[in-house]
């Protein structure tokens, strides 16, 4: 699992709970949890460590961890979870299956536009994470269609956060589902608030840090599905016989408290769509 990303942590807790439930009585289950910093070298080292430990199954959360394991070309079965739109990339292999998710980014842009008139949208992403890059590119396509200027802010380390200062004050921010960005979210949000800019994310926990709204796929569902796949593999089903899944159901969090801080009143028609309202 990359770092302490809360989205993946929730997924992992659900995974463990479900796997324990599905493990036949008397069968011993040992879980080794690794939380490296989500850069490719650290993730690759972790994958090698687990391969060396000759585990029966590797579970990877997010695209960067999944791709790091796949690159090692191991025969150990791999179950992934928390992988954004895996159908759009080459996440495949004889021993690979898993449960990804998709959130309609068009809806996020629509919601941001209903909060304020947007001439520039800034996308905060990390080039070290494949699915974060894809989300940034998807937003690029959408903003071209809707005649909105796009700025991409690439965060690879803490010092990259400074780039946020140079973004326009008259805009909005989309924070991609990135473990690296997530690890600096506590520093990023105050800078966006200073700019009085609304922000949106696909990780719901970031609303607690002050993100204005989040449209997300509930992570516990992915953890549970991944556990079902893992249980089948541990009981002898080859991964190639287990079809990968993409979960698309979403929930919407609107953060009225954070919006108030930046002088934005959520329109009532948006509030009625919310699954969770933070007051």
């Amino acid at each position: 699992m990359p770092d302490n990303t809360p989205y993946y942590s929730t997924m992992h807790r659900a995974f463990v709970r479900e796997l324990k439930r599905l493990t036949p009585p008397g069968q011993r289950l040992k879980i080794i949890l690794q939380r490296p910093f989500p850069d490719p070298i650290a993730l690759s080292n972790t994958a090698r460590k687990l391969i060396a430990a000759d585990v029966n199954l590797i579970v990877a959360y997010g695209s960067s961890a999944t791709l790091a394991v796949i690159q090692e070309r191991t025969d150990i079965p791999l179950v992934y979870a928390g992988f954004y739109n895996p159908e759009a990339t080459a996440v495949q292999g004889r021993n690979v299956t898993g449960c990804g998710f998709k959130v309609p980014l068009t809806s996020i842009l629509r919601y941001l536009r209903s909060l304020k008139q947007i001439s520039t949208l800034s996308v905060v992403y990390s080039s070290l994470e494949e699915d974060s890059v894809r989300q940034a590119n998807e937003f690029q396509r959408l903003t071209i269609e809707q005649h909105i200027r796009l700025t991409k802010i690439n965060i690879k380390s803490r010092r990259d956060i400074e780039k946020l200062k140079s973004t326009t004050d008259d805009g909005a921010f989309f924070i991609t589902g990135s473990a690296i960005v997530s690890s600096f979210i506590g520093d990023i949000i105050p800078m966006l608030q200073e700019k009085m800019a609304p922000s949106a994310s696909i990780f719901p926990d970031q609303t607690a840090d002050g993100v204005t709204l989040a449209l997300y796929q509930p992570p516990a569902e992915q953890g549970k599905e991944a556990a079902k796949m893992a249980a089948k593999i541990l009981l002898g089903t080859p991964p190639k016989n287990i079809a990968p899944e993409v979960l698309r159901d979403t929930e919407l969090v609107v953060n009225l408290r954070a919006a108030k801080k930046i002088g934005i009143n959520f329109p009532i028609h948006l509030i009625v769509e919310a699954t969770t309202v933070i007051r």
């Binding site: 309609p104 809707q146 609303t207």
Partner: protein, 303 residues
């Protein structure tokens, strides 16, 4: 739970909306005396954005009051079916009704259909759409098995009656066992957004709301696929109680039909987003009874 005081509730904002609607309704009600002495109390079924809706209807009520010489007051229902309860308890003189509640009211309470507005596209009717996200891979009813379906309200033709008839026609006898989850969004626009966001796999809503949202955000069109559409049904009809004197009903109809002929009338129509009103008839509602029959729904069972 995300923060300590977050409200975890399906459509949490509806709480606020309900409180608002209750207050609105309470403030406009009055004890029942003769219709002319106390004016007319007309109900309106809720739309997605009730603040816009209040604006649209306010001028119409004012215009009717001026032309008729007594007060016409409006009250917005908290949900589609509430209007039936209000007619049962004789708390309304009439209502602007969508096709399902109008058909039910005509049958159960002998309401008289008076007039329907013609929208800016020149139509007084709407159709029901069943739609999915294009990237969902759902193309037929067979593909819908195990997915989630968002309806609008049990008291809507486009948002419930039509999809139920369509599903029955394609062999779905029990929606609860066929779908993983079915729920009611409360408004046509909410059903649309639920599918757009991925909160539901399949949705039903009326075409006029669907097209309005596309007009305001053209990207929606490329995201959704329409699987089926219903025959046209009257979108909104002003229906009055049958104990309102026929002469008064005729006067109201006459005022509405003549709106297009006066400068002020045209101004009010413009704000109401209509070109004119046309006379409504009982026969306009025949397709709804047919749909109910096909859906296996007894309309009079509606509570």
């Amino acid at each position: 739970m995300i923060v300590c005081c977050a409200t975890k509730f399906r459509s949490a904002g509806r709480l606020f909306l309900l409180v608002f609607l209750c207050l609105t309704a309470v403030t406009v009600q009055a004890p029942r005396v003769s219709a002319k002495a106390r004016g007319l109390l007309i109900g309106i079924e809720p739309e997605h954005n009730i603040f816009d809706q209040i604006e649209r209807y306010r001028d119409l009520a004012g215009y009717l009051s001026d032309q008729l010489g007594f007060k016409v007051r409006l009250t917005i229902m908290s949900r589609y079916g509430e209007v039936i309860k209000r007619f049962k308890s004789r708390q309304l003189d009439g209502a602007f009704l969508s096709s399902f509640t109008a058909a039910l009211g005509i049958k159960e309470f002998q309401l008289e259909p008076v007039a329907s507005p013609v929208n800016l596209e020149g139509k007084s009717t709407s159709r029901g759409y069943i739609f999915v996200r294009r990237d969902s891979g759902i193309k037929t009813v067979k593909d819908m098995r195990g997915k989630s379906f968002v309806f609008v309200d049990p008291a809507t033709t486009e948002g419930y009656l039509f999809p139920m008839a369509f599903l029955r026609r394609h062999g779905v006898k029990d929606r609860h066992s066929f779908f993983s989850r079915c729920w009611f969004s409360g408004s046509h626009a909410s059903a649309l957004f639920a599918v757009l966001d991925g909160r539901a796999d399949i949705g039903a809503a009326k075409d006029t709301v669907f097209n309005k949202q596309i007009a305001s955000d053209p990207s929606i069109k490329s995201e959704l696929r329409i699987i089926a559409q219903s025959p046209p049904v009257p979108e909104v009809t002003l229906c009055l109680r049958d104990d309102i004197p026929a002469s008064l009903r005729q006067r109201i109809l006459s005022v509405l039909l003549n709106m297009k002929n006066t400068a002020r009338g045209r101004q009010v129509l413009k704000k109401f987003a209509a070109l004119r009103f046309i006379k409504a008839n009982n026969s306009d509602f025949a397709p709804i009874s047919n749909m109910a029959k096909e859906a296996g729904i007894t309309m009079s069972d509606y509570k």
